[in-house]
Amino acid sequence: MPDAPGLELIAQEINDAHEGAILGTYHERGQACLISDPDQILEVLTWLRETPGQEYHFLASVHGVDYLPAEPRFGVHYELLNMRRVERVRVRAALPDPGGDQLPELDSCVELFPTANHQEREVYDFFGIVFRGHPDLRRILMPEDYVGWPQRRDFPVGGEPVAFTVHERDAAWYEHE
């Protein structure tokens, strides 16, 4: 991993190249993370991939996180890896929740990293984050006609209450679980 001052240097250089792209950094427990402005995520990823000296060519994972109740609510994490130097850096696109029925949007990085195809579909499936420019954005693991974004924090876990014989006397036994 780039160490803390190295990380600050990277953040500085990206901000020089693209104004306001990096909103913050943090370096804890040996792992480096850049927090990026969601509208400039493609520029950040391209910079990290193309710049000689950085060259994070391998995207290990794209996943979404719901930080509710912290703001901005959603984070889409890109785990980048440089295989030559064995260095990992994480880029978090901090997406706010637009509220109401609107879905948060982010640019898709499928052209940059083809591995993000299925992974962005998974983020869409579970969080409802729409990736602009994705060739085939539809649900991947849930049934195609499912309603709801399961891995959001305000989505209930589900399941059924277990019916114990002791509880059947109460009229409201199903609320026991």
Binding site: G158, E160, E168
Partner: protein, 249 residues
């Protein structure tokens, strides 16, 4: 007619070589007499009983079905690996006649639902089950297909018997191959017509049932219906498993 017990048959018509030439001659003459129609009455009866096994068609069919079952492989998740290992040499389901796992449901007798049934897969499972031809049975292997297992969430159907009839539930996560074989043997006994008695009968614990809504709240009709059902089940049991005195009494 009763199924002739094997020991009586062997005593009357031994398989060993005849002990002497005279005995061989006696056997030959008896066979010739039988064919000619010379054996009459009791002698004929005895000879027939010695050489012929009599039973009912139902029992023969059940015997055939139970001992030559084709499982439909329905490996969903982790239990599928343990299901594959019952075909392996150590646990060998072939000795029970069931190693020919048919991929097509049309050719299969019973389906082993091994693994968690997710909500996306449930209609597919039901369709496969419907495609199977009668008679068909279903073993729900593992905790997930019996009752949802540890996954009490939005994505897993809480038990395959929510949408299809299941004959045998095998608990475990995953059940050992021996456990699955035990469940399979129990299913075979069920098919043969003498299912294992439930634990209340076996441990003489009848009368210990809990009433869901309190015994005082059950209507007399319900209680009577239960009595009648219990008596009918007791009458259907073969004599040997019925015991008037419990263990150690």
């Amino acid at each position: 007619m009763e199924v002739v017990r094997r020991e009586k048959l062997r005593a009357a018509a031994p398989l060993e070589q005849p002990k002497s030439r005279e005995e061989l001659r006696v056997r030959q003459l008896r066979a010739r007499d039988l064919l000619r129609g010379d054996l009459e009455g009791d002698e004929l009866q005895e000879h027939v009983e010695d050489s012929v096994l009599t039973t009912t068609l139902d029992k023969v069919l059940n015997w055939g079905r139970a001992n030559a079952m084709f499982p439909a492989t329905f490996g969903l998740a982790c239990c599928a690996i343990e299901m594959m290992s019952i075909v392996s040499p150590r646990y060998d389901i072939a000795r029970f006649g069931a190693e020919a796992m048919r991929a097509s449901p049309r050719q299969a007798d019973f389906i082993i639902l091994s693994g968690r049934v997710s909500i996306k897969m449930a209609p597919v499972v039901r369709r496969i089950y419907d495609q199977m031809l009668e008679p068909k049975w279903a073993i729900s292997m593992g905790a997930c297909s019996s009752s949802g297992g540890m996954f009490a969430n939005y994505a897993v159907v809480q038990g395959a018997d929510k949408f299809m009839p299941v004959d045998m539930h095998v608990p475990g996560c995953p059940p050992r191959p021996e456990a699955l074989l035990y469940g399979f043997n129990k299913l075979q006994k069920k098919i043969l017509g003498h299912p294992d008695p439930g634990w209340r009968r076996r441990y003489n614990a009848e009368g210990t049932e809990e009433w869901a809504r309190g015994a005082d709240l059950a209507t007399p009709e319900e209680r009577e219906a239960y009595e009648r059902a219990r008596e009918a089940a007791a009458a259907a049991m073969p004599m040997s498993t019925r015991s008037s005195s419990g263990p150690g009494a």
